[in-house]
Assembly symmetry: C2
Homo-oligomer: 348 residues x 2
């Protein structure tokens, strides 16, 4: 379904009313001339209320829950939390599409699995590749080049690659309510970080442009680099296939300690890969905020995992236990269908 | 020698003249009412000029060497560059003094070297411990506790531990000209980072208070942590004896890529451990600044390494080749004796 038809179906009747609001992504000015709502794409409800309560509690001087600006850290998972990750992680698409270039440089891989399957172009066979196969592909396609060459290649790819369903750039498929949330937290003195299971170097290529998050505030799965010299003595770094940080599950709080060195005040995720990050965050004293984004909006985005009674998909695990834990620990589950007025900036 | 006698010897004759300036650490107001000099503790000369030229070239809009604020990154070694590291690295003192507490918890170490020697209190024997011995001591004293317990212990120690020669807190032995340089760069939109061979977690305990550098802008040698749960289900991180990043030599640019993800515009160091960081920094395009602090002021601080014709000491290696390279690559060598009006804030 094309986005224009999605928009018509869901927003058609309201077109006149929302037209003025939707014309730009500027904050929406309330009709009575009050300050614009920084969370204009969030419907009123428990989720939006939890966010504004948390910010009020941690930024109001004199409150026992007040947090000094230097300690205001908020961490966001990326895939499925800030942008679309269905049906396949964007970075995996990048790696699959890089296989021909890698094989051109290393012809010995041409008839070796899983590279042979990827080169065959057989989509069904590619979809059946195991996690172990994908790891081999990631290692081969994300190492061996200089840091600058990688950045240039990833930047060129992300500037042209489109999501098959939406026929839009992946970077257009960021969630407008989450962009507003990032901006709202920053306007209240929070330093916003991405803490992703995806590749740190990959996300850093576009994080500033797309999320307003500079490279040094992106924590992700990270390979080592190796310092060396070109024949003329110029030093450079080569990306190595050695994994330094697997920034998933327990690796998220461990990565947060390594890269940030403080416990976040707020954390946002959507799958079991984010569980320990939310646990670590919300176990701290004072006011804390933990949120899980629930993908329950098939027409506008996707319904998968718990929304379809499936604890596991290729893009994460979403067991009932995670939602039971959310209830127990006071995490807020955000329904994309009910809590978000619009999902993408391009919706009209 | 006590600091008061050092002060008298070197500043006695000038006491009246400098009294007004030295009364506080506020910037010095020029006599003609011009703006205060942000680098008041630097003597006029090539080093100070290189700093102000670099800042002018990278922050003046329209210049071909202009650098957008987001890319203004400056990295500083700590030991010997921001504070005194002679005759022994401060963190090594901390680890040596922690040995009795570790042995109390692990009595099996009592008669095992190098712990036995440390417990003996024999200073000459302790001074002869090998680097391998020191590594064993660091691993044993910096792991096995929760991150919070470590932070509390290190914070309590650094609040009381004093340097034997100056009889002052180690945190009073930061170089005033470097504090001014950090502030000057920050006032010009630079994000200042510490990139230390010392322990990242240790430096993070006091970096904000002492240098105005928040924990997340400290890159250092880093051990892993392990996420786990207390019996009541509360999650916590335990420091592990596993080394993730040896942030020395080639490890410095590798650590910068891992933790910052951008090539610095300026880098400051004092020994071969900083060589690759300076090489990597100054190999980038545009205006770059590389600086080496030369410890050539025995009376006010220490003269060691090249100032005494010794390429190696227990606190670093300073071969002639490093200074030859500085000349070749355009790095500026800062003479503490000649370029710094005063070294410590407490000098009068």
């Amino acid at each position: 379904m094309k986005p224009s038809s999605i928009s018509r179906r869901f927003f058609g009747g309201l077109f006149g009313a929302v037209c003025a609001l939707a014309l730009s992504s500027l904050p929406v000015m309330a009709q009575d001339g009050a300050a614009p709502d920084p969370l204009a794409s969030w419907n009123d409800g428990a989720a939006k209320q939890a966010i504004t309560d948390f910010v009020r509690d941690t930024t109001t001087a004199g409150k026992p829950t007040f947090v000094p600006p230097a300690e205001r850290i908020a961490t966001f998972d990326q895939d499925g939390t800030l942008w679309v990750s269905h049906p396949i992680y964007t970075q995996v698409v990048y790696c699959l599409e890089r296989v021909p270039a890698v094989v051109a440089q290393r012809p010995e891989l041409r008839n070796v699995e899983p590279f042979k399957t990827v080169l065959s172009g057989d989509r069904a066979a590619i979809a059946r590749l195991s996690t172990k196969d994908l790891e081999k592909i990631l290692a081969a396609t994300l190492s061996g080049m200089s840091v600058e060459d990688f950045n240039a290649d990833a930047a060129a790819w992300i500037a042209r690659a489109k999501h098959p369903r939406f026929d839009r750039l992946y970077t257009d498929l960021v969630y407008q309510p989450m962009l507003e949330l990032l901006g709202y937290l920053r306007a209240n003195g929070y330093k916003t970080y991405i803490v992703t299971g995806g590749g740190q170097d990959f996300v850093r290529v576009y994080s500033e442009r797309v999320y307003g998050i500079p490279p040094e505030q992106v924590v992700g799965s990270a390979g080592g680099t190796k310092f060396g010299y070109r024949p003329d003595g110029t030093p450079f770094l080569t990306k190595e296939p050695k994994l330094l940080l697997n920034d998933n599950n327990a690796g998220k709080p461990e990565g947060i300690h390594l890269m940030i060195g403080r416990r976040p005040m707020a954390a946002f995720g959507n799958s079991t890969g984010d569980r320990q990050m939310l646990e670590y965050t919300t176990a701290g004293p004072g006011a804390r905020l933990g949120m899980l984004i629930l993908h329950d909006d098939g027409p506008r985005e996707f319904a998968y995992g718990p929304a379809r009674g499936l604890p596991d998909t290729r893009i994460g695990t979403f067991p009932q236990a995670l939602y039971d834990e959310a209830g127990k620990r006071g995490w807020v589950v955000v329904s994309m269908k009910n809590d978000w007025k619009r999902i993408f900036a391009f919706e009209r």
